[in-house]
Symmetry: none
Amino acid sequence: MAEVGGVAGERLRSFVERVERLEEEKAALAADIKEVYSEAKGSGFDIKVLRQIIRLRKMDQSDRREQEELLDIYMRALEM
Amino acid sequence: MAEVGGVAGERLRSFVERVERLEEEKAALAADIKEVYSEAKGSGFDIKVLRQIIRLRKMDQSDRREQEELLDIYMRALEM
Amino acid sequence: MAEVGGVAGERLRSFVERVERLEEEKAALAADIKEVYSEAKGSGFDIKVLRQIIRLRKMDQSDRREQEELLDIYMRALEM
Amino acid sequence: MAEVGGVAGERLRSFVERVERLEEEKAALAADIKEVYSEAKGSGFDIKVLRQIIRLRKMDQSDRREQEELLDIYMRALEM
DNA sequence: GTGGGTTTGTGGCACC
DNA sequence: GGTGCCACAAACCCAC
């Protein structure tokens, strides 16, 4: 990190701005999600229930993956 | 949350899937951000400090100053 | 936070030290846990497998709790 | 990880339970710490700054200085 | 303003 | 040694 005002400064600025740009897009998506929840609420759904459903669906997936992974490492631990 | 099993079921499914879709995209952006940090690291930048820079740029100036002043007061109180 | 060197300073110091004390104890427990894993490894167990087992046992519990919670909020959403 | 189902099964169970026991105690301490912060908050202290104080006290002086210097360099490079 | 929950950041650990 | 991963801790945000 020599060249405080020189080339490195340009690279640094570039990285910072790329991250900031991506974070903006991410924040926009978060806002979209919030809007969907809001719309759902307007249709009479309970947001807390919705969130829970989505969380459980995600968990089931990762749970299944974990189980498979456990089987896998058991097998390797037993040198099968 | 009326009409369980009826028309509302369709709507519910639709909301759930929209949220899941958006969350996938959000996760993809998070991965992109991670990659940028990784690239910056490869260029010799300190990721932790980089994160701090981005945090400071986002933070309001007056809040930032306020926090620092409070920290200063506490440290003097503790004779650090 | 007036009284930088006075009464408030004493209270501040007291809180800080209480937290530090508790964190020390917590760190000691973390070290104990690490030691148990180490001992298990010495007995021929695969640490990664062990961790996975413990994680799954914890997950199963919290999964069950989540399911119950979901049922509960469904019921409340349906005003049962 | 040999002897699945035999004597090793007992040992395995023992290790798992010891870890789980220690993790419970650790969780209890975490709750205690949270409570201290809560009490401090009730006395008018800023929790965020309090945490920072504790972090700084734990951190090595030279590391702390190093981080600050790096931050300073980056900020000058970005003309912040 | 307080608590809960979600998300982000940091540190430790294992593997390469 | 250094890199990626995972778990814990902290910050943030919303709803009440």
